[in-house]
């Protein structure tokens, strides 16, 4: 009996596992690990404009967008909502807050129907600490983000200086 490989009944889990493979951070995990991850996580269907989470909330999980697009929304100094970015399918959402242990830095809501896999904090941290390639990837991503932020800061500083000179 080789059902799980040939029978095709476990399609959902297999399919989800294949999709998780597309997520850069998780791409180094083997098929079995991804399958276990898919099997042990909840998948939620969000309606258009539904919030996955709000800015400032405590973070309890990381999301993988399986289907649809989400909007990442911050707030400007006046407290007005500002669209910061959008994230397509196969992106990982909310990992920064989980790693830093702080609250959510932005709100995320569904643009159109969205399906997302929900990886609880503890599971995600186990993945990072238990798999060096994943940890390395996290470091690389964060370094890249830091570099970009620094460049951004330098850019702003230049502009400020120029304004001061005028």
């Amino acid at each position: 009996m080789t059902g799980i490989f040939s029978g095709g009944f476990a399609v959902a889990v297999d399919k989800e596992a294949l999709q998780l493979k597309q997520v850069p951070l998780l791409s180094s995990l083997d098929g079995k690990q991804l399958k276990l991850l898919a099997f042990t996580c909840d998948v939620f269907d969000y309606a258009d404009q539904d919030y996955l989470f709000h800015q400032g909330e405590a973070s309890d999980c990381v999301y993988v967008i399986l289907k649809g697009v989400v909007e990442i929304i911050g707030s400007d100094p006046d407290g007005q909502a500002v669209l910061l970015a959008t994230s397509p399918a196969n992106s990982l959402i909310g990992e920064m807050a989980v790693l830093s242990g702080a609250g959510r830095t932005a709100s995320v809501k569904a643009r159109g129907a969205v399906t997302a896999l929900n990886i609880p904090n503890q599971r995600f941290l186990e993945l990072v600490t238990g798999n060096p390639p994943v940890a390395l990837h996290v470091l690389q991503t964060l370094s890249a983000k830091l570099a970009e932020t620094s460049r951004h800061a330098a850019d702003l500083q230049t502009r400020l200086d120029r304004l001061a000179d005028e």
Binding site: K32, L36, T40, T115
Partner: protein, 879 residues
Amino acid sequence: MMEKSIYKYILSHTRKDQIWLVLMTVASMPLVYYSLEIPKLIINKAIGGGNITFGILGYELTQIQYLLMLSCAFLAMVIINGGMKYIINVYRGVLGERMLRRFRYTLYTRILRFPLPHFKNLSASEVIPMVTAETEPLGGFIGDSVALPVMQGGLLITYLSFIFVQDFWLGLASIALYPPQIYLIPRLQHKVNQLSKQRVQNVRKLADRIGESVTGIADIHANDTGHFEQADISKRLGGIFVIRNEIYRRKFFIKFLNNFLAQLTPFFFYSIGGYLVLKNELSLGALVAVLAAYKDISPPWKELLKFYQITEDVKVKYAQIIEQFDPPGVTADAPPKDGEETQPDGERRLSGNIRANRLSYVEEAATRVDEFNFEIDSERHSVILSKDGTAADELTQLLARLLSPSSGSLSVGADDLHALPEAVTGQRIGYCSAASRLFNASIGDNLYYGLKHQPQAQADAADADTTDDARRAFIKESLASGNSTQDIAADWVDIRLSGAGDPAEFRQIVLDIIECVELDDELLTLALRTTEDIDIPEQLAEQIVTLRDQLIEQINQIEAGAIIEPLDPEQYIHNLTVEENLLFGTPRGRMPVADFLAANPLVKQILDTTGLRRELGDIGLELAGLMVELFSDVPDDSELFDQFSFIKAAELPDYQRLVAAAGADGAAAMTPQQQAKLSAVSFKLCPARHRLDLITPTIQEKVLSARKMLMEELGRDNDQIRFFDRNQYNHGMSVQENLLFGRIAYAKGHLQPRVTETIRDTLKSTGLNQEIVLAGLNCPAGAGGSKLAPNAQQKLTLARTLLKNPDILIINNALSGLDSKSFSRILDRIIALRGGRNLTWALNDAALLPRFDQALIVEKNKLLHNDSPEALSKVLENL
């Protein structure tokens, strides 16, 4: 006071019974004698005698008839003798148990009377075995205490007299060794007594240390002191071993000595007796008779020695128990005896101001409260402010009459507070501190605890006609052992004490107090979620059923699409597991669904006739294969196993073999046991949750028809399953499940908080929330209230105190766990609730002073300020 010696205690309570026992024992002795005599007659006369006839009571009997008559007489003797023994043994047992019951009850009652400070040095783990285990041997002893020495002593004297009659010197020889035994054994026994005293003390300490380890288990782990604690226990066990070892050696030495001396006497008989016979100063017959008699005196003498040892042991144990139950200052004011009137005389209330005059309290040579003079207004609100918390504890406990002043006086109006009976102070003074405890009962029982002074429906205890036999027997037996005869099952809650005139008013008062301390949310959540049976009243159940449609409508407004999948009997429910779909109800008796299905023969039959077992077996096989693949590398103790695996870690290898051995025919080729094992795996499958498309429409159809067969076979109203029914409340489900009558779709799990919110709003708008809060009172509070959050525990103890509606309300730093905002809100509400009545609150936050009318400011053991409202502002400036 308790009797100092166990014999005094026994005789003061069982004198009559002991006399009865002795009489019965003595009366049974002739029977014993005859049951020995008749066999002799049978052998010597009926069998061994010549062929003659016997005249009995004027009848002529042949030898055969005589033999039969004697044999029947023997049988009768055996029966009567056995019956007599049975009666005496039962009587002895009952007597012992009754005394044990009395003794334990007395000890417990003593605990209730210990002065409070004594509990600081008292460990529960030490006291519990004293009342339970250490008293145990006393029960067995009490039945024997008088009858056994009387009987064995009587036998001994009888046999000795016989020997003395035969020959004075041989008689003397047979008791020659009694004096050394009587001299030596008590001395040896004395040491054993001391050792067993030590042993008892060491075992108590051991119990105390084990108790400490249990309560402090988190600290042991947190500090990694397991080895340290183990070493300590090892040392203590070692100490007990050494003592026991010593006791054994000494005990067996005493036994050895006894045996030796017992054998030494025959030595004298053989040597001296033999010498006398040879010298023709004694007949051989007499020597043989004396030897036979000596064989008879040995057992009673041994019994007496054994009895002496047991008596000594029990005496030590008794003395060691009661000395622990006689601390100085046991409150004179004993808890009420049965039937004693404890209602405050009519409607006795405490009125008038509380006055302290040079009030002092000293504990362990430290002055905790040093000559306080103050007056607290009975109609206003006072605060006791102490920054370091010292003195406030003692002061509030003195005010609540939990402690007695060492000197000075404390009075309420015209009454000396400490001269009032507990029945008045306990009912009219409310005291709540952060250390107040909850009991392992329902939340409601805890809330009403302050109203349970006497059973309210006591008529049944007095009126014999209305009580059933069991209750009457209980009362009779309780009286015989001096226990309480009050019925714990009666209704003890005196709603009048809360100020309510009728149950409707009481209900409102309870709700108001629950809201006052903000316990309503907690209770609502508990009541909605718990799957334990919380006795939802019929009317509320109907209202919940009626609300179902409206609620679903509200929930569907959250978002378009199916958030809740309703429990439709005609549909396969994708958000339920296979077993839940099959059963489509809840097993009565709160049995887990899987256990019910596995044990029910009807289910087995249905699974076989529909062919479901085989098909589910195939699904189970595939699932097992998936589980083996996914979980074989997961550590056994991982939470993932518990939460997600269909198969327990320990069973995984079993299934691995099953999967490996499966052929092309799958489950069909397997044994019924293997099929059952595999289908049990498939039972746990929930298509919506696990996202495995294994349950094909064909299987769904089959599950539906199996569901129908089960329903038809059992009928709607049966004693096994409560089927899901849109029009009926299901007592096997939680209130929330009953309200929704469906499952929140797994894919919509993120909407759970909003669904909960909608449920609450709907309940509030229909007013049903109050009923459900009240139903929440039926939830268990757990040991020490452990099922409630710490904050909720403190709120509940405060609510309990408020519900008593006391004349004097003392709150000692209760609610210490609350955040300052909630605390402030609750404080304001209680101040409003107690308008025009006394409220005395010990705090350590000076910012709250302005809310009170009067302030006592305490530092260390001194009263610094005692100020009126006018002076309060000045004090505040100085702070």
